[in-house]
């Protein structure tokens, strides 16, 4: 009987704190994909719960005076200046915080598909996801770590840095930077058909890329666009990498 008292006390304390917690949680039980759009820096991490979590400790809550009122220039149903809406199996998360505000930090299950867009010019950091990742920004850097893919990146003026834990053979990977550099690390045993273009930059790699045979005409064109088509470990999933003005660093793990 004595033992039960501390447990009950801890439970009561936990419930009290939980009641005070201002985290936003949305179940991802029936969700296949989460689309996130924000003006601020976006940080996506994984957790072991089947839910989307915007934690009070890592995100800026709206001011007390705004509680219970509606914003004029944005939408908010989370009290974090973020609007979350479910459309069939897709969960859309839109942040209306200004560009210079603190980052938007979101936790999701690692197996969910994600699509992230920084609407203005901010960075995107994504780590540990094991399903499709799409990321788009205009001027920020994109950092995607410990993923399996497929990965799709469109980056206009920032740098892109990706580390693949393994490369999924499910469907194509495509990374396109208009101005910045691209730095990609993949496991040495990855099977892939790799097409790399560096029209104004250079490709640096330590991978054994075996060039695919092309017709003379094709060779001429590929030389002028500085494109190389090659097979890695006898070929596999399609990987297209384009850095229009920057360099590409393709590394083996």
């Amino acid at each position: 009987m004595k033992l039960k008292k501390p447990i009950a006390l801890i439970t009561i304390i936990f419930l009290i704190f939980d009641g005070f917690s201002q985290d936003y949680v949305h179940s991802t039980k029936d969700i296949d994909k989460v689309e996130i759009i924000a003006n601020t820096r976006i940080i996506l991490k994984t957790h072991n719960n089947p839910s989307l979590l915007i934690s009070d400790s890592e995100n800026k809550h709206i001011k007390k005076g705004a509680l219970g009122l509606k914003p004029t220039f944005g939408k908010d149903n989370t009290d974090f200046n973020v609007f979350v809406e479910q459309n069939n199996s897709t969960l859309r998360v839109e942040s209306f915080q200004p560009r210079i505000a603190d980052p938007l930090v979101i936790y999701l299950p690692e197996t969910i598909k994600i699509s992230v867009e920084s609407r203005i010019n901010n960075d995107i950091n994504i780590s540990d996801f094991k399903n499709e990742v799409e990321a788009k920004t205009n001027r920020g850097d994109i950092k995607i770590i410990n993923v399996k893919g497929p990965v799709i990146v469109e980056n206009a003026r920032g740098n892109t840095f990706i580390v693949f834990e393994e490369v999924s053979q499910n469907s194509p990977i495509s990374i396109i930077n208009s101005h910045g550099d691209i730095d990609i690390t993949i496991p040495e045993n990855t099977k892939a058909d790799i097409e790399v273009s560096v029209p104004r930059g250079e490709l640096y790699t330590d991978l054994e890329l075996i060039s695919v045979e092309n017709s003379e005409e094709e060779e001429d064109k590929m030389r002028s666009t500085r494109t190389i088509k090659s097979k890695l470990n006898d070929g596999g999933v399609s990987i297209m990498i384009v850095a229009s003005l920057g360099n590409i660093y393709l590394r083996k793990e």
Binding site: I152, E154, V242
Partner: protein, 262 residues
């Protein structure tokens, strides 16, 4: 899921193009339904067969040998009509009988082989038609997919079609002009290159150069239009060259390509 839906999804399942939930549902259904298990097995067999027998072509020597043999046979028949063979002894008669039997057997064998080859050619043609049909369906349906990676997969499927119809070309053009991600637009632009002699494709490249704002796509389009020597692109190229918002490296490329075109 019912059997009809499973039949539709089997292509995607086999190509690993289903999301986790759909994949699991298909697997569970196949396990519990003998009819769909058979369809799945037949599909795997069909794909394996297509991949294995692509290089098998009828042997010209075989046909020639058969024709030669047939000609000889006709010759023998002619001789037998013109002159009645009257063997002088029983031994000669027996030898001729054995020879005739052997000739008949060889002719039958060669004729059978020829027929088998003809039926194989028909089978290959049917399988190729089926493959084209499946690739066309997969291309068109995946282009509607929400996932950008799956849309690029659709573009890759279209590249496996030897002579894609206008519906496929229009779908590729649509992706090149209007997809929200440059990754899909650029993949479509590259896939369309082998049809750059087609007027519809040429017009689409010119239209894309007029509307495209992404510099990676602009570089690609300028390269393609210069490569196919499309003179109608010159006015837009000049306009971009004179536009103060055009990045310097694009202007450098425009100058270089315009020199070659004009």
């Amino acid at each position: 899921m019912n059997c009809k839906e499973i039949k539709y999804l089997i292509t995607y399942y086999q190509d690993n193009n289903l999301d986790y939930v759909s994949k699991t549902l298909v697997e569970e259904h196949i396990k519990s339904c003998s009819s769909c298990t058979q369809i799945h097995q037949e599909f795997i067999y069909l794909i394996d067969t297509i991949n294995q027998i692509q290089e098998e072509l009828p042997d010209n020597d075989l046909e020639l040998a058969f024709n030669d043999m047939l000609a000889k046979e006709k010759e023998v028949l002619k001789i037998s009509k013109s002159r009645v063979l009257k063997p002088k002894n029983k031994l000669l008669k027996s030898i001729l009988k054995v020879a005739a039997a052997l000739l008949l057997m060889i002719s039958s064998y060669l004729f059978g082989s020829y027929k088998r080859n003809t039926s194989q050619i028909n089978e290959i043609a049917i399988l190729r038609q089926e493959k084209t049909k499946m690739l066309t369906i997969a291309t068109l349906s995946l282009m509607e997919n929400e996932s950008a990676s799956k849309r690029i997969q659709a573009v890759k499927y279209s590249q496996e079609l030897e002579n894609p119809d206008d519906e496929i070309l229009n779908a590729l053009i649509n992706e090149m002009l209007y997809d929200k991600l440059v990754n899909v637009r650029l993949a479509a632009a590259r896939a369309l290159e082998r049809f750059s002699e087609n007027n519809m494709v040429k017009n689409a490249y010119i239209q894309a150069l007029r509307t495209e704002e992404n510099t990676s796509m602009q570089i690609e389009l300028i390269e393609i239009l210069a490569y196919i020597k499309e003179m109608r692109a010159i006015p837009k190229m000049k306009e971009l060259l004179n536009d103060e918002n055009t990045p310097i490296f694009i202007k450098d490329q425009l100058k270089s390509e315009l020199k070659n075109l004009i």
